[in-house]
Each structure stands twice: as structure tokens, then as C-alpha cells.
Symmetry: C2
Subunit: 521 residues, 2 copies
């Protein structure tokens, strides 16, 4: 993973010329005055941990698995939000951990947590490093230091129960590797968020991830049948049945806890047969309102495609639904992508019924072209963002979910907030996940970088978050809370809700070393 | 509701003669030596609350809504488990609350909780009174008294959002009344547990209920989009979207909390169009193993019927799947009931595909007869139990869920435990709820009453619970924890899990007045 941006540097994509022209003429984007820092130029604090403490960490995981060289520290600094990238590109390594420790087993994780609690060392559980909400930016204030607890050595498929269709997997396993392992057994998880190529299973669980095919395969939290959580106070082992009436579902308390309660060391996940057939196609609707009504119809009356995604007029015009064709002329209206995965006969039947419903709701079938183009570019947007940043534009996303009846007002309120705060931004939106009672909205914003692009975006983001809270949406449908959404999250669950989360944390992490400043301030 | 048994006394059913003969000859059941107590014979403790305290309660809810006459106290004593009925039929009113208070609003509930916390009065939230796990048997020890907080006045349909398909309903509304109200709008919740005719929505939420049609409509916890919880520490208002990544899902912490954290005063529930068509039919499988494999096939490969229920050989033989035809000769093997509800065309398509899958898995179609017979008797089993108790038999149920691969061993272990503890019992079982990764098992046990039938059953139940815990199942799929499953629940979530639940309770109910002894000991 590129330390200052996304993914494999070899895959970096230059912006097409029409896009460059559009940025310059429409948004007034100018190349940045200062070039991005080189790795060697990133400013780091000295390692705060004493040699004695570093030796103590080595005693637990072995000397090779405690790293505090500059490059390793930089590669574990913050996540991949646009402000994160702007900061690291400006050479700001101030949030770097003092060391990175790499446990290989549950017992090593448990021992590390005990040691860090005893020595007042803050711990940042680190999977793929793809957080876009500040989930990896722990506060070291009041601590002897900060270690990133890298989970990449815990990357095994531990067991497979093909009768129950449950796989036991380790948290540091990257989704793309998990899919490769499961494919060998004819199976899939079916979880494909945009971070798919780098994110880990533990991260999906800790942050309540949702993927592009979640309409068909369910959210990640739907897949978690069981989990093990190492905490400074001991180990929680949860999940004896798919569903239970034995008290509150504590699995659902760990999911979304973002490393603040403990470190997930094992996951038992529902798997499915790998699809025999995958079909992606496009539909055009005259307006976002009409397309949204059609999406709601499928969500409430069925059948629901495996993938259902509807771009608004702006996103359709710019072509962002198909990053591979960015800037290509659109046919107007709003583009919907529908995808079907499964056994051949079933896909045929579902697709036929869905197509009839969409046509009845005013959709015009565009065939497989747009669907295939979307599928080709479905993990490419983060690369595109890197190119935009380099060109002098700020590009960032934010997302929410709400009940259907609130969706039009929420959509307008967020757009207005962003337009009010930023000078002529490009604000695009799509519905990416639908439920019977509501849907998510995913906004992408592109604007010319000001002299202080971090503060520029912070102001705009605050305004957008205020709009979300005010109009009744949740502050995140799938990115999580991190540091960036703490205030909105607190407003969402209220003071008493915050106190409940604090009470759980105090029990599991009494010294407060786990991801301090994340989830709760 | 009959104070000493189930439901409407006018609907009480005498046992058919073949059943009486079977009980006598096979199980050695003899009529009880002592007749059941009359209402006036139930022994009650004097009301422990002082006139001053009673006046304080009246100040909050009004004089008419504080009751402490004998009959009202008896009608709020314990729930409807077989031990509960055996005790009350023996005239044992020792667990009666000192008073029953009937708030009409959220604010009155909140005020009552504050008052009871200040005055160290234990509070038992009371909906339909149908708990079968001791969920209404609070411990008054160390308290100034016990009040049952009856929710029956909070029975309104507060709002209906037909765009989002969400209804706001009050917790004291009985399910049967909720369905009547929603039917006026062409809608349904689709939640039909055996307690349907008496249980309330708040009780479903507090106990994580699952219904006979949950394969199609989902469990009750799937339906809860939002809720309001009054606690002695303030009010929690949760649920701003169908699903969220904003931290742990606190809704899932309240669901299943069984009145130990607070009182649910409002629910926002997902509703669906009332079905145009309902079809129930029967299938015969050669064995429980074969039928289970077929059920698993539908759960994992689809399509899943709205109702899917498979009786084992014994339950099929006795005819308990069709209480209206109890004792009628069976065709052998195992009876599966499949039900389909929805729009006409959809029902037809799903039914056709499911039928093909079932036939392919060895099922023999029995047509609509057994399905209709099941549907006719689907809420009748509790009446049947009353008749069995009166005849001198103990009849009780217990249930669990596990992953598919563990199901055969769990089934055998529970059967063995019951056979070991009871002299020639009749042990019947059915799979009532299926998931992709597992299923529930629901056992019905009939045996001759010993001289101390409460202790007799307690011993057998303990053995069955031990078997469940030992073989990896959850202690309850839909009945809940109550007092009866506390130890098994603690074993299931472990000491640290118990501590987490305690920490939440301590924050929301610091004086511990809420349903003491329920969920946690």
C-alpha cells in the first residue's frame, strides 16, 4: 500500500484530459504550489518508548515483530481519509505510533494488551489501515507512548464448516486473500467494499462495514456468527448459534467498537457458494427521485438484486459511477447499476422480475455495458482521488443512511451545506445500499484546494455532519465513527447512550489504553 | 387471560379420549390427588408497601391506576411456564407483587422508575404476562416491596410512515390488536409466536421473540428500527436508520434485556403489506435427519418459505404438529409444514421452487390438509397444556438453537438428558426456525406428575440445560433468559460477558430496582 495514497503505485491512473479541463474551468483547480513530501521528508517525533519497554514488547512477540524504523512508523500513521493524505503528503508525521508490534496469536494479543495497560501505552489495532474517519489516529496524550498493533500476521483460514457454511478466519486476513482462500472451496463471503483490495476482516467487523454487494450478501455484521475479543480484562467468546434470545446480543456490541473495547482475534463468518453467474447492467431513470422510488420498490416488494446502486444527476453526468470512463459523455438522467449473483437459474428468475419492476417504475434498460464498466472500475475510485489530490483538487466522500421518508430532505440538506461552505464544489451522490425501511446516501465532493485544504475540508465536513444530525440521519452507514464523527455520534445516541458505551469500555479497558480518542472523546 | 392457565377459559379443550388412554397406559398419568386451588384460595403475603408509598405511586399515575386487590396481584404473579402454573394451581401466591401500577405515558413510566429507585421498590415490567422462563418473577429481597409495572394502557398505534414502512407503536399493545390496527391499513408485522394472542410488542422486544413465520418476516429483533427506553438514569432514544456503522448497535443491547435495563416505552417497527395469499401445506420425510437436511437446503440455497417447521418422528406420531388433530393416526416419518405468504405471483413462484427442492431432497407432498390443520391449531398448544396439567401430566417445552453441524448431537444430548431424568417421558421435538448457518430445536416433554412436580421438572430442565450448554447450543432461541436460564446464560457469555451486562445495568439502573434476579442473578 502506497504510504502517501492508495494501493499499488503501479496502478496509479492519470486523469483523462477532459477531466483536467473540467477541473480547471469549472472548479478553478490549480496545481499545488508545494510538491508532496518524499518518504524521507516526513517529520516524526522521536520514539517515546524506552528501550526497556521496547524489550518488554519484544519479549511477547519476538524481536522481529517490534518495529520502530521511520518507514514502518510512517506506514502506520493515520488512515486513508483525504485529510489523512493531505497531512502525510505535507510531511506531517505527528500522529505516527512510536512502534508497531505484530502479534501472531490470540495469546500474544492478550499479553500485549495486558502489558500496555500495565505500562500506560496506548494501543491502536491496525488491520489494512484503510479507515477514512480517523479510526487509527489515537491520542497519545497522557500515555507513555502509542503502539500500532498490526494484525497482518494473523491471516489464516482456521477452519471451515461446510455443513453450517461457517468459516473461522483470523482478523488480519485481507478480504482479497480471504476470497482467494474461500474460492478454493467454491465459497465466497461476498463482501466487497471499496477498500476490498486492502482492508482486513477484523477491520470490517470492528467498523461495521457494508459492501457493494450487501443488498445480496448482507452487511458484514450480518455475516458474523461468532467472534473472539481480547481485552485488557480478559477474553470474550461470543456466538453459539446464528441467532439467540439469550440476553442482549453482545456480538452487536463488539461490532462497531472500533478497537475501543478490545482486539478481535477470531471471526466465525457465514459463507456462501461462489456465484455461478454474475450479471451487472445499467438502467437510466429520468431523475434521482424517480430512481430512488424504483430502488425503494425493489427493497420493499422485491426482488432485490445483489448490487443496487443509483447515482444522482451530477454523479451520472460526471460518470463517476464508472471510474474507468470518467468524463465520457453521459445520456443524462440518473444511472442505476443492478447486479445479480448466484446460481444460473435463480439469477435468471430474479433478474427477470427485477427488470419488470424497474421498467414499470420508469427505468430504461441500458444493457450490460454500464454494468460491466462499473464492475471494472469498482475499486478504482481511491486511485482517482490520489490523482485529483496531486492535481490540486480536494476529493472526499461522506455517507449516511436514513429512513426512506427522510431521504429527500437529507439529500438536499447535505448538498446545501457543502455548497454553502465550499466555493463551487462538485457534489455527487449515490444510493449504495437499500433496506426495506431506508437507504444510504454516499456523497463525493470535489473542490479546488485552498491554501489550507485540511481546514477547508474540516469546515465543509462539519457543516455536512450537522446537516445529517439535524435531518435525522445516522452519522455513518459504513465508514464508522473514528475521531472524525465522535461529536455527531454522541449527538446521535445521546448522553445516556454515550455513558453506556463508556461503561462497557471502562469494564473491558479500565486503563483506557485502547484506541484512545476513537469512538468516544 | 385465565389466572391459573392460558387464555380464554371458554376455549379450554378437553383431551380427546385416545390421548387420555395414551397418557394412562404409556406414561402412567393419574389424576392429581389434590384439585387445583380456586382464586380465593391462593395464599398472598400482605402488601408490603406503606400507604405513603402507595400514595406516592398514585400521585404519578392516578389513584385508579394503582391496584393492590388480591385478584389483580394474583393475575400479575409470575408468568406462564409449567412450574408457574403448577405453583399457582397449588395456591402458592408467594411471588405476587405488592401492587400493580399502570402508567399511561412515557413520562409516567420515567417518573415511576425514578420514584421506585428512590424508594428501593423492585419493578417488574409486565406486558402480556406470557413469560415461560421466570421473566416476571423478580426477587423482592432487600427491597421495600415489588410493583408490577403493567403496560396495558400504553396500547396505541402512534404513527405510520407508509413510505418507509415503519409503524410507531406502544409497548403494551397486544400483538393481536396490533395486527388488527395494521390490517386496517393493509399492513402486517408478521410476528406470530405461540403467545401471539396475549403477548405484547414490548415483551417481544424485551425478550427477543421469534415467531412461527420468522423465516419469512424475520425475528422480532429484525423488525425493530427504533425504540425508546425509560430507565432510572434517563431515556435512551435509538435508531436513526435501518442500519448504521455509528458504533455498536445499542438497539441490540436493549433487545433481550428483559426489563433489567429499563422499560421500553415506544417501538418503531418495520411493517409489510398484508399478504394477498397464504398457503400452508405438509410434506413427509422418512426421518428427522432427512427432513433436517431438506430444511437446511432451503435455508442455504433458497427459496425459504415464510413458515418452515419440521417435527421429529415422535412429535409426528403423536400429532402435536396439528394440535387440532391430536392423537389422530399419522403416516409415519416426519411431518414438515411449509407456509407461503405474500403477493399471489410471488407466492406461486417461491412455492414452486421450494416444492421442487423438497421433492428433490426426498420429501413427499401431503397437500394442503396438514398445513391447514397446523394453521388452525397454531396457537392452541398452551390450552392443551392446561388440560394435561389437569389430567395429572406435566407438559412443558424448552428450546435452543445451534449451528447445523452441531444439531444432531444437540438433539440427542437433550433427549438423553430428559429420558435419564424422567420416568418414561414423551419427548417430542421440532425445528421451528432455520437460518443459513443453523436452526432452532423446540422440545415438548410430557410425563406423569410426581408428588412434587415442580421439583421433578426442575431436575429434568437442569439436565436438559446442561446438555445444551455442553453441546454448544444457546440456552434460548426465543424464550429468553428470565430467572430460569440465568446460570446457563452466564456460562454461555462467560464471566467477562456477564460483567459487561452488569456494567450496562449498573449505569442504567444504579439502584438495581429493575426486574432484580432476572437475566442476572
Amino acid at each position: 500500500m502506497l504510504w502517501s495514497g492508495w494501493g499499488d503505485p503501479a496502478k496509479a491512473a492519470d486523469l483523462p484530459e477532459p477531466v483536467r479541463e473540467l477541473l480547471a474551468s469549472l472548479l478553478g483547480v490549480r496545481p499545488p504550489a508545494v510538491p508532496a513530501a518524499e518518504l524521507g521528508q516526513v517529520r516524526l517525533r522521536p520514539v517515546a518508548l524506552t528501550p526497556l519497554v521496547l524489550a518488554g514488547l519484544s519479549d511477547i512477540v519476538g524481536h522481529d515483530h517490534v518495529r520502530f524504523d521511520d518507514e514502518t512508523r510512517i506506514r502506520h500513521t493515520r488512515g486513508k481519509s483525504t485529510p489523512d493524505l493531505l497531512r502525510i503528503r505535507a510531511g506531517d508525521g505527528s500522529d505516527a505510533p512510536d512502534a508497531v508490534v505484530l502479534p501472531g496469536t490470540h495469546d500474544e494479543v492478550a499479553a500485549l494488551l495486558g502489558y500496555c495497560a500495565d505500562n500506560r501505552i496506548a494501543v491502536v489495532p491496525f488491520g489494512g489501515g484503510t479507515s477514512v474517519v480517523g479510526g487509527l489516529t489515537a491520542s497519545g496524550s497522557g500515555f507513555a507512548g502509542v503502539v500500532a498493533l498490526g494484525l497482518r500476521r494473523m491471516d489464516r483460514l482456521v477452519g471451515l464448516d461446510t455443513v453450517s457454511m461457517v468459516a473461522e478466519l483470523e482478523p488480519g486476513l485481507r478480504a482479497v486473500e480471504a476470497e482467494r482462500m474461500l474460492a478454493g472451496h467454491g465459497l465466497t463471503l461476498g463482501h466487497f467494499p471499496q477498500s476490498y483490495e486492502y482492508a482486513t476482516l477484523g477491520g470490517f467487523a470492528a467498523a461495521r462495514s457494508s459492501g457493494q454487494a450487501s443488498s445480496g450478501y448482507g452487511r458484514f455484521d450480518d455475516m458474523v456468527m461468532g467472534l473472539t475479543l481480547a481485552t485488557p480484562s480478559g477474553t470474550l467468546r461470543l456466538g453459539r448459534a446464528p441467532r439467540s434470545a439469550a440476553g442482549p446480543d453482545l456480538r452487536q456490541l463488539v461490532l462497531g467498537s472500533e478497537g475501543a473495547f478490545g482486539v478481535i482475534t477470531s471471526l466465525r463468518l457465514r459463507v456462501r457458494p461462489a456465484p455461478e453467474v454474475t450479471v451487472y447492467e445499467g438502467w437510466r431513470f429520468a431523475s434521482f427521485a424517480e430512481g430512488t422510488a424504483a430502488a425503494r420498490l425493489l427493497a420493499q416488494r422485491g426482488p432485490l438484486p445483489t448490487v443496487l446502486r443509483l447515482s444522482d444527476e451530477t454523479e451520472t453526468m460526471v460518470g463517476l459511477a464508472k471510474p474507468g470512463e470518467l468524463g465520457a459523455p453521459s445520456d443524462g438522467g440518473c444511472l442505476m447499476i443492478t447486479g445479480y449473483e448466484g446460481a444460473g437459474e435463480e439469477v435468471g428468475a430474479v433478474r427477470e422480475r427485477a427488470a419488470a419492476a424497474l421498467a414499470g417504475a420508469g427505468g430504461v434498460a441500458l444493457g450490460a455495458g454500464p454494468g460491466e464498466s462499473w464492475a471494472k472500475g469498482r475499486f478504482a475510485a481511491p486511485y482517482l482521488r490520489d490523482s485529483l489530490l496531486a492535481a490540486g483538487a480536494t476529493a472526499e466522500t461522506l455517507e449516511t443512511a436514513c429512513f426512506w421518508s427522510e431521504l429527500p430532505a437529507l439529500y438536499e440538506a447535505v448538498r446545501r451545506a457543502l455548497h454553502d461552505e465550499l466555493a463551487s464544489p462538485l457534489v455527487m451522490c449515490h444510493v449504495s445500499h437499500v433496506y426495506e425501511t431506508g437507504a444510504s446516501l454516499y456523497f463525493t465532493v470535489v473542490t479546488a484546494q485552498s491554501a489550507d485544504p485540511v481546514e477547508q475540508w474540516a469546515k465543509a465536513k462539519r457543516a455536512a455532519c450537522d446537516a445529517i444530525v439535524r435531518t435525522g440521519g445516522t452519522i455513518s452507514h459504513h465508514h464508522g465513527v473514528g475521531r472524525d464523527h465522535r461529536e455527531a455520534y454522541a449527538a446521535e445516541i445521546g448522553d445516556l447512550g454515550v455513558d453506556v458505551v463508556r461503561a462497557v469500555k471502562a469494564r473491558l479497558d479500565p486503563s483506557g489504553v485502547l484506541n484512545p480518542g476513537v469512538l468516544l472523546s
